[in-house]
Amino acid sequence: MKLPIYLDNHATTPLDPRVLEAMLPYFTEKFGNAASRNHSFGWQAEEAVENARKQIADLIGANPKEIVFTSGATESDNLALKGVAEMYAERGNHIITAATEHKAILDTCKKLEKHGYRVTYMPVQKDGIIDLDMLRDAITDKTILVTIMYANNEIGVVQPVAEIGKIAKERGVLFHSDAVQAIGKIPVNVTRDNIDLMSLTGHKLYGPKGVGALYVRRRNPRVQVTSQMDGGGHERGMRSGTLNVPGIVGFGAACALAQKEMPEESARLRGLRDKLKKTLETELDEVYVNGSLEHRLPHNLNISFAYVEGESLLMGINDVAVSSGSACTSATLEPSYVLKALGAGDDLAHSSIRFGLGRFNTEEEIDYVGNKVVEVVKKLRELSPLYEMAKEGVDLAKVQWSAH
């Protein structure tokens, strides 16, 4: 077993060597511009792009013509939201999203608010899932778009996407979903799920960074987005710019691999995740899983260790790469807004660790991590005045703290 162990696969994933192999020719001998129509270099590149487009479309049950390549999911989210807002401005100015969305959605919504759009940020329930009745009530005749992520990047909670899509469809509102954490991990199908627009990226499923896509429905309804990047009219005018051919080839290869290996791989990861959870829950008291366990990505475990601060825990397991919702690990010095949205209390947000398992993790690694976390949590609890008080029977919620 090699240290450090990478368990931060929601942030990014390593490139699968099989993906790299597929990409390599497109850096050197097959370097053509996919938009060059009059020589074999261009044709070769175009063929590779079209093949990848099909691989990606196949993974999500779409038509290849519905895939618009971008630089990544942040760009896809921007194109979806701003592009729909602009295109459908005459129809309405209201967008509905949720408090636990990725910043690429939330910050884009804030930008749109500055331009006169109205945005509803729905709260989530304790398990991280949105309330469908609340969604029904939030839709008005001015609503043009509902955007709800498929699976959350911190807590791995999977939203009832098909239901959301159905509600949107019934009310004649477009539905966009940021699905970067879900594709290639759990079955996603744009028809079954009633999705009109969907953001994807390569690097979360063992493909390269810097390449993503926006799925834009072509039929029933035909969806249009106003381009946010203008130039040569690439990607049916929705996103200009020379295509990143090696990246796109890698993204396509990654999707094909994920589709082929998903049933077996998701069962394997679920087994490892559950083993890790069991170790932590057996060896330690007062550990809490954040968000629904039932509606959750198989490779995610977001868990709070009461009375232990997250960054100090990360320091103790410094040969394991994970993330924490602790304020001390974020640039803003605020604890995770996703965990806060669950209403768990800031103290549990500070105590949280996100384990993101991936294709290259082994059982030996998971066993090592489980034991190491148990050891460090026990050590830090010996150091924790809160643990001592809790053990003495003090109700921490009733203590007058000197907030600073």
Partner: protein, 138 residues
């Protein structure tokens, strides 16, 4: 974030972890911070009533590595000092000793506050204790 060697050393081998008897009249207890802010420090000191010297100090901290190191260092520094000398310790001394980056300065402030809170608790208790003694003398 990269930690200084001194922070790592205090984190890996924290000095003076533990608790003193809160009800001991010679023990002062300071508890500062709040769980929702991600930092709580408990610092206790025991004063020799004859010499006024801090003969023992203990801490427990819920917080990041820098918070643990700041409070560990604080207990190390106040031991052997008089109460008044201990009050002279400034958060900037802790920042310099541990090479804390700007985002961790609040950890050192909390440690200074913990020392002051513990001493203030001790003084309050000592004041209350002297009362019956002086009455007995007069």
């Amino acid at each position: 974030m990269a930690y200084s060697n001194k922070v790592l050393d205090h984190y890996n081998n924290p000095r003076n972890v533990g608790s003193l008897d809160k009800s001991d009249p010679n023990v002062g207890t300071g508890m500062v911070g709040a769980p929702e802010c991600g930092d709580v420090m408990k610092l206790q000191l025991k004063v020799d009533p004859k010499s006024g010297i801090i003969e023992d100090a203990k801490f427990k901290t819920f917080g990041c590595g820098s918070a643990i190191a700041s409070s560990s260092l604080a207990t190390e520094w106040i031991k052997g000092k008089t109460v008044d000398e201990a009050l002279q310790i400034k958060n900037t001394d802790i920042v310099n000793e541990l090479s804390l980056p700007p985002v961790k300065i609040h950890c050192s402030v909390l440690a200074e506050d913990a020392i002051k809170a513990a001493i203030s608790d001790y003084k309050k208790k000592a004041g209350m204790n002297r009362q019956p003694v002086s009455e007995a003398v007069s």
